[in-house]
């Protein structure tokens, strides 16, 4: 056990090429920018203060922000995203981007329901608050400081999925898969528009799956298995892309069948796992560069 722990720790802090850190940071910035740009944040201002609820990092602020202030934070965040992509003061810009995104999503979600849509992106992004990227002429440098952040991001990603799966077992046990649970999840999801939810795109397919118990149980079993085995998929370089494809199928089917949008989870998984699936000496954005000695993991 101690040997395994030591090997995991050694892999975490092994030197890595600068371009890999920059790639993951840039891709995460693009994901966050997409989330910032595609939502009308001024809707937060329509919620009366009496209806604010839930503990978040923004709970210290008890007022209702003005629409212009929300737009200002959005714009600052987007400018920071551009700076990260352009690699101009990327660390400082990423911190600004993360703060803008986290603040707005925390305010958005302060209505009484724990919102998980953006939580993975925020937590994975938190790793890069402590990670300094390479200088422009140092993308091929091998340093410990460039190696651990992308691996830490993989670890956070894996933990989020495995905990999501474990909670299903803790609170429901095997019944989560082997009862008619998924049938009722689908039937309830199909009626979500009654309470203001989004009307699912593939309603006929969802009805079909709900009507066949073995099909809905297979869907539940596949989702749970994927979540619980996330660390294994993400530990091995060659299966990381397969994990991204699998979570895209899982979250995609959830969106099609019950209208819940977890695209940020898919994009975040892709932003981290796709670059980390490449050989350590192969860059995603530029021509292959020499990174002799990079750990081939």
């Amino acid at each position: 056990m101690r040997g395994l722990w030591s090997r995991v720790d050694d892999r975490l802090v092994a030197p890595g090429p600068g371009f890999r850190l920059a790639e993951v940071q840039i891709l995460l910035a693009v994901v966050i920018a997409l989330r910032l740009a595609t939502r009308d944040w001024t809707l937060i201002a329509e919620r009366p203060a009496a209806l604010r609820d839930g503990l978040t990092v923004m709970s210290w602020y008890t007022g209702t922000p003005a629409p212009w202030a929300l737009v200002a934070v959005q714009v600052v965040g987007l400018v920071c995203a551009v700076l990260v992509v352009a690699q101009r003061r990327p660390h400082l810009a990423f911190v600004g981007l993360w703060i803008a995104y986290t603040s707005l999503t925390a305010l958005w979600g302060s209505s009484g329901k724990v919102m998980h849509n953006d939580v993975l992106t925020v937590l994975v992004g938190a790793v890069f608050l402590f990670a300094s990227g390479p200088p422009r002429d140092g993308w091929s440098d091998l340093r410990v400081r460039y190696g651990w952040p992308p691996r830490a991001a993989l670890a956070v990603l894996a933990t989020a999925y495995v905990v999501s799966g474990a909670q299903k077992l803790v609170h429901s046990g095997p019944e989560w898969v082997f009862s008619d649970n998924m049938t009722w999840v689908l039937r309830l999801g199909l009626s979500a528009n009654l309470s203001g939810g989004v009307t699912p795109v593939a309603q006929d397919a969802a009805h079909l799956v709900a009507e066949h118990g073995w099909l809905s149980a297979s869907l539940a079993g596949g989702a749970l298995l994927l979540e619980l085995t996330a660390p294994l998929w993400l530990a091995v370089r060659r299966t990381r892309v397969l994990f991204v494809v699998s979570v895209a199928l899982m979250h995609g089917s959830i969106w099609l069948f019950i209208g819940l949008d977890y695209s940020a989870w898919v994009l975040t998984a892709a932003a981290v796992a796709v670059p980390m699936s490449l050989a350590p000496d192969r860059a995603l954005f530029r021509m292959p560069v020499s990174a002799v000695g990079a750990p081939r993991r």
């Binding site: 209806l51 009862s179 999840v185």
Partner: protein, 144 residues
């Protein structure tokens, strides 16, 4: 490893294991302090026994009007998760909450005598793929 590399490794270990430990604490303790979360996504099983809560404005002219909490605004829609909180709150807080829900539902409180919270039992029709309300129980009434 050089001294510099050892220092960088210490930072990496501290950040990574602290973040993972924090996630584990929130998961085991079932805690929520967004963005730290217990990740309880669909963790409880669903069954055929379903109920929903509905706020109903009782107008002074004797008519009832279910409150549709601004369906076009996703920030407001999820405030329906606070409906159960009405039961345990003081009269003053109940009144504040109800006035806020009337406001975001576009209902003038001047025409409303009281607002009640109903629990509605629902049944699913396999043939028509629709849910229908089969019973209604009033949980709390808030006079304005």
């Amino acid at each position: 490893m050089t001294t510099e590399q050892r220092r960088e490794a210490r930072v990496g270990r501290a950040v990574t294991w602290s973040l993972l430990a924090l996630m584990a604490v929130f998961a085991v303790g079932q805690l929520e302090l967004w963005p730290m979360t217990a990740f309880r996504l669909f963790s409880t099983t669903r069954s055929a026994d379903q109920t929903r809560l509905e706020l109903v404005a009782e107008h002074l002219d004797g008519t009832d009007e279910p409150l549709l909490v601004s369906e076009r605004n996703p920030v407001l829609v999820t405030t329906d998760r606070q409906f159960p909180d009405l039961v345990g709150e003081s009269e003053e807080v109940q009144r504040d909450l109800v006035l806020a829900w009337l406001s975001v539902s576009g209902v003038d409180p001047v025409s409303v005598g009281s607002v009640r919270l109903d629990r509605i039992a629902r049944a699913y029709d396999v043939d028509t793929h629709t849910w229908t309300d089969v019973g209604r129980t009033t949980i709390v009434v808030v006079d304005l």
